[in-house]
C-alpha cells in the first residue's frame, strides 16, 4: 500500500510539474482521438441519418453488421489496418503506418460503427410524427433530415461522447498502428502499458490518472446531456 501511495504522490507531482513528456503523450492521445472522432462524425452521422430515415432491402443486415463491428476487438482492427498500411499492403504507399495519421485512421474505423449505430438508434427513437410534421410544414427531404438531426441533437452528441471514450481508452490499435514511438505516436494507453512493463510505475500511474480524469469528464458530459434531454 505504501508503494502505491508513494507512486501516486510522485505521479501527481509529475502532472503538476508540467513534465513535457507527459503532456506530449496526453496531447498526442487527444489529437489522434479527436481527429478520428471528427471524421467518424462527418461520415457516421449523415450515414446514420440516411439509414434511419429510409426503408430499404437489407437494412436489418446492415444493422447486424454494425452490431458485430461494434464488438470487434481493437487488436483485430489494428491487425486489419496494419495489413492495409504496411509496405506490402494496398495502402503502403501512403506511408501512414506508425504515424499519428495512421493511428487516427484505425481509431476512425473503431469509432465509425459506434457513431453510426448510436445515431441510427437515436433517430429511430425519435417521435415518428416529426417527419410528417416537417413535410406538412413544407420541408423537402434535406430540410426534413436536418430538422430530424436537430431534434436528435442530444442523443447524437451522446453518441459522439461515447465514441470518444472508446477511442481515447483503447490500446490495441494504438500499439499496432502507432508503434508506441516516443515523442511521435506514444499515447497514454501505450505509455501506461510500456512503463508498467518496465517497472516505471510512476509515469504509468500519472497517465492513468489523466485517463481517468478524461473518462470522468466524458461521463460528466454524457450525464449533463442526458439530463438536458
Amino acid at each position: 500500500m505504501q508503494f502505491f501511495i508513494e507512486s501516486a504522490i510522485s505521479a501527481f507531482e509529475l502532472i503538476v510539474s508540467f513534465d513535457p513528456e507527459v503532456y506530449f503523450i496526453i496531447w498526442t492521445s487527444l489529437r489522434v482521438a479527436l481527429v478520428a472522432l471528427l471524421f467518424a462524425a462527418l461520415a457516421g452521422v449523415p450515414m446514420g441519418l440516411l439509414i434511419a430515415l429510409n426503408r430499404f432491402t437489407g437494412k436489418q443486415a446492415v444493422l447486424l453488421v454494425l452490431n458485430t463491428l461494434m464488438a470487434l476487438p481493437t487488436v483485430v482492427v489494428g491487425l486489419f489496418f496494419y495489413a492495409l498500411l504496411s509496405r506490402r499492403g494496398p495502402l503502403g504507399t501512403l506511408e501512414l503506418l506508425f504515424t499519428p495519421n495512421g493511428l487516427s485512421l484505425g481509431l476512425f474505423a473503431l469509432a465509425l460503427p459506434l457513431v453510426l449505430h448510436l445515431t441510427i438508434a437515436a433517430i429511430e427513437d425519435l417521435d415518428p410524427r416529426i417527419v410528417i410534421t416537417c413535410k406538412g410544414l413544407g420541408a423537402n427531404a434535406r430540410q426534413t433530415a436536418w430538422k430530424v438531426l436537430q431534434e436528435a441533437r442530444f442523443a447524437v452528441t451522446s453518441a459522439l461522447v461515447i465514441a470518444f471514450g472508446r477511442v481515447i481508452s483503447e490500446v490495441g490499435i494504438a500499439m499496432m498502428l502507432g508503434g508506441n514511438i516516443r515523442g511521435f505516436t506514444r499515447t497514454m494507453t501505450t505509455a501506461i502499458a510500456l512503463e508498467t512493463s518496465k517497472g516505471e510505475f510512476v509515469l504509468g500511474l500519472a497517465l492513468g490518472f489523466v485517463l481517468l480524469a478524461v473518462a470522468f469528464g466524458v461521463n460528466a458530459l454524457l450525464f449533463l446531456l442526458q439530463r438536458r434531454r
Partner: protein, 217 residues
C-alpha cells in the same frame, strides 16, 4: 371560383386493404368541408393525400388546377396548412416552432417573428413566444400547432380531429379562428371529426367516410 381539389379515380390502401377509393371528388376554393366517419374510416388517410404527404396508389389529384407530381409536391405542400392529429412540437421555443416553416419559405427573420407573434395573438397565446414547447399543456400545444400552420398563410387548411384533447375554451377559440378564416378570407377548410355534433359551427358540406366508390358532388 375554381376547384381547390379535384380527385379522380384515386385509390389508396395499406397492403391489400383498400382504404380510399374515390371515383370523383371536387372541393371548391373557399369551401368548408367536414370529413365524418368512425375511427379507421380513412379520414386521416384522405387528409394525408390532400396534404400531399401520402401518394395515391392510383389516380390523379389536382390542386388549384395543377396536377400533383413528384416534381411539384414540395411546392404544393407549402400552399397547405396541415394540423395533424395530436400534433408534434419541435424541442425548442414556441416562437422557433412557428418560425421554422416561415424560414423554409425564405421569409426573413424579422418578418417571420412578427408573423409568429400575430399567429399566437390570434389564438390567444400572446406572450408564449419564448416558452419551451415541451412545457405547454395539451390544449396550448394544439393551439401553437395551429398557429404554426396558420402563420404560413396557406390557401387550404386541413385539420385532423383538431379539437381532440382540447378543453372547451380552447376548442371554441380554435373554431372561431377557423371560421373567420373561411368566411372572411375565403380559405378552404377541410376538417375530420368522428363527432360532428361537438362542433358548434356548421360546415358547408359533410362527406361521410369510408370513401369506397365515392363520387361527389
Amino acid at each position: 371560383m375554381g376547384a381547390a381539389y379535384e380527385l379522380i379515380d384515386v385509390m389508396f390502401g395499406y397492403g391489400v386493404e383498400l382504404v380510399i377509393s374515390i371515383d370523383h371528388l371536387r372541393i371548391e376554393e373557399g369551401e368548408f368541408v367536414a370529413l365524418v366517419g368512425p375511427n379507421g374510416a380513412g379520414k386521416t388517410t384522405l387528409l394525408n393525400l390532400l396534404a400531399f404527404i401520402a401518394n395515391p396508389r392510383a389516380g390523379k389529384i389536382r390542386f388549384f388546377g395543377e396536377s400533383v407530381s413528384r416534381k411539384n409536391v414540395v411546392a404544393l405542400r407549402r400552399r397547405v396548412g396541415f394540423l395533424i392529429q395530436s400534433p408534434y412540437l419541435f424541442n425548442t421555443t414556441v416562437e422557433a416552432n412557428i418560425m421554422w416553416g416561415l424560414r423554409l419559405r425564405g421569409i426573413p427573420g424579422r418578418e417571420a417573428r412578427t408573423r409568429a407573434r400575430e399567429a399566437l395573438e390570434r389564438l390567444g397565446l400572446s406572450g408564449f413566444e419564448k416558452r419551451h414547447a415541451g412545457k405547454l399543456s395539451g390544449g396550448e400545444s394544439q393551439r401553437v400547432a395551429l398557429a404554426r400552420a396558420l402563420a404560413l398563410d396557406p390557401r387550404v387548411i386541413l385539420l385532423d380531429e383538431p379539437t381532440n384533447n382540447m378543453d372547451e375554451k380552447s376548442a371554441k377559440l380554435m373554431e372561431g379562428v377557423v371560421l373567420e378564416l373561411n368566411r372572411n378570407r375565403r380559405k378552404t377548410v377541410i376538417l375530420s371529426t368522428h363527432n360532428l355534433s361537438s362542433w358548434s359551427m356548421t360546415p358547408g358540406r359533410v362527406i361521410h367516410l369510408p370513401a369506397i366508390g365515392l363520387k361527389e358532388p
